[in-house]
Symmetry: C2
Subunit: 183 residues, 2 copies
DNA sequence: AGATGAGGTTAACGATTGTTAACCTCCTAG
DNA sequence: CTAGGAGGTTAACAATCGTTAACCTCATCT
């Protein structure tokens, strides 16, 4: 597990942003949590905004790339949907801070970063929407989008609860998500 | 619709907090959006923190009071759960900004306010948990809590999507929530 | 051996923030 | 009629913020 300083900064910053919000964290806080101090961050990033931007881009890329791969190797739509559910649950349980900032901090991005992150997020959602619509002919595109967003909300609730073991939480969320997507 | 200045401040502040986060909004922003300017807010609240605190307390009280009343007038557990689902959906669709700040700004409260809000939120969750457990004997308390939190996440996803009409969104969310709670 | 660049440091800046102070209007109760 | 409080205003404050500048310290390469 070779962690570069850049990754360390992105990781600790994401955790702090998730706890206190983007504007609630100072560059001194981030540096201090990394063992360095304040302005040293500018050796790795263009500014505080850039840290958030790179973080959100990285998250969106990871979600999209794995989503693409898992659906590509699935043989049926049922398998594809199951793979998407498993993947999203795995990510949400493994990286609660990243899930939190991805869903709440995108308003603090600059115009360029927002466009890029938005495009990646939309691509990821589209994978879900396409898969769901192959199994649910009764849903038009906007309806399917709403259903998928609601499913994300269900799975992404993990950071707010997490009182039972990770494995039982994973299977519980999986069952609920499948049921909700069929309703 | 008699709206006192105090309510107006709470309302507009909640909207701004939902959009940009607590630390992303200045007292000047809040006052300006109310047609008054900055320091005038201190005639109605003790400070910026106090605005957030009163807002969150009000939201939690509304959710709890109506949750209590609707379950009290229900004759069966099935009816009670349906009433809770309907109420939460009605609130989330009608006041997306309040839902957003209630679930994400609680970390910015002072110790006293946090305790008070937390107690109200727990009481509301407990109504749900008790009702769910009467219908789902297989769930112990922590499991039921996780299931309820996931259902909140599903319903609270409304502010992030909202592309279809409010009535079809309401029925769609209701169906999904019921299915998820039975899974 | 010596130049170099990567990755730190502290000091200082201008801007913005929450908050207080001092002052000005009205509306209204006695 | 008039004292006073409720609800505004602007000016000014100390603190904190993101950012830049200037400087230091070593590995590493020629």
């Amino acid at each position: 597990m070779t962690t570069t300083r850049r990754e360390q900064i992105l990781d600790t910053a994401a955790t702090l942003f998730a706890e206190r919000g983007f504007h609630g964290v100072s560059v001194h806080d981030i540096g201090s949590a990394c063992g360095i101090s304040g302005p040293a961050l500018y050796k790795h990033f263009a500014g505080k905004d850039d840290i958030l931007t790179q973080s959100l881009i990285g998250i969106s890329q990871r979600l999209l790339a794995e989503g693409r791969q898992r659906t590509a190797t699935a043989e049926t739509s049922e398998q594809a949907l199951a793979a998407l559910i498993d993947w999203h649950i795995e990510f949400a349980l493994g990286h609660p801070a990243l899930i939190v900032i991805q869903e709440r901090e995108w308003a603090n991005l600059g115009a360029d970063g927002r466009r890029e992150v938005r495009a990646l997020q939309l691509a990821y959602i589209d994978i879900w929407v396409d898969t769901v619509r192959q199994l649910r002919g009764d849903l038009d595109a906007p309806e399917a989008r709403a259903v998928v967003q609601a499913t994300f909300g269900l799975i992404n609730s993990t950071p707010h609860s997490a009182r039972i073991s990770e494995s039982s939480m994973a299977s519980r969320l999986g069952r609920m998500a499948r049921a909700a997507l069929q309703a």
